[in-house]
Symmetry: C2
Subunit: 106 residues, 2 copies
Amino acid sequence: MTGKPRENCPVMHATNAMGDQWSILILREFFLEGPRRFQDLQDVLEASPNTLSARLKKLEGAGILERRQYSKNPPRAEYHLTEAGEALRPVIRALHAWGSSFAPGG
Amino acid sequence: MTGKPRENCPVMHATNAMGDQWSILILREFFLEGPRRFQDLQDVLEASPNTLSARLKKLEGAGILERRQYSKNPPRAEYHLTEAGEALRPVIRALHAWGSSFAPGG
DNA sequence: CGGTATCCTCGATGATACTG
DNA sequence: CAGTATCATCGAGGATACCG
């Protein structure tokens, strides 16, 4: 106790899970394209593999993404939005709407 | 050109402006409480003054907050949401809803 | 009160090479 | 293809002192 006044705020749970530069952009790909593979994300986002790996693991740990492995050789894995992940759609939509209205030159 | 495939995405404008741990939490205070002073934010968020100062300047530079100085001695300044800032309310609301539904133990 | 100045630490990210 | 390993950089953030 005697911690930060808003330490149990629901908004903070969200920022803890996605409060970095990449997570939101990663999630955007899932909402646009559906289940994605590692290479898909790397191609479109141009994040280095270790960075991408770290973000995916964190999102997986937060229960937002789920990794499914379909074969080991050749390796094939897909990441899917969980129920909690799907529930983030309104967040992305709201961010997109805001970015469209108030972008530089928008 | 030949940059990142989604470099002009509206979502990225949003993450560039608020893609850190504090910005969202700062904005939350404005939606909850209205115009805020430096000390108000420091008390409730418990961010160090230099960090808070940096975040406020960045949000101001992004056109989300506006600083109004009412007196110089004693100093009194207030930060207000701009129109672009007010337009972020749906984002915070969506994050809050998500955090409430999918919080650990929620 | 509303910050700025310093110094410090750590995580986020990038570049590159490598592996099963 | 789907990552891991390694090394380096840079900004975010914290602690503290200080200033007008």
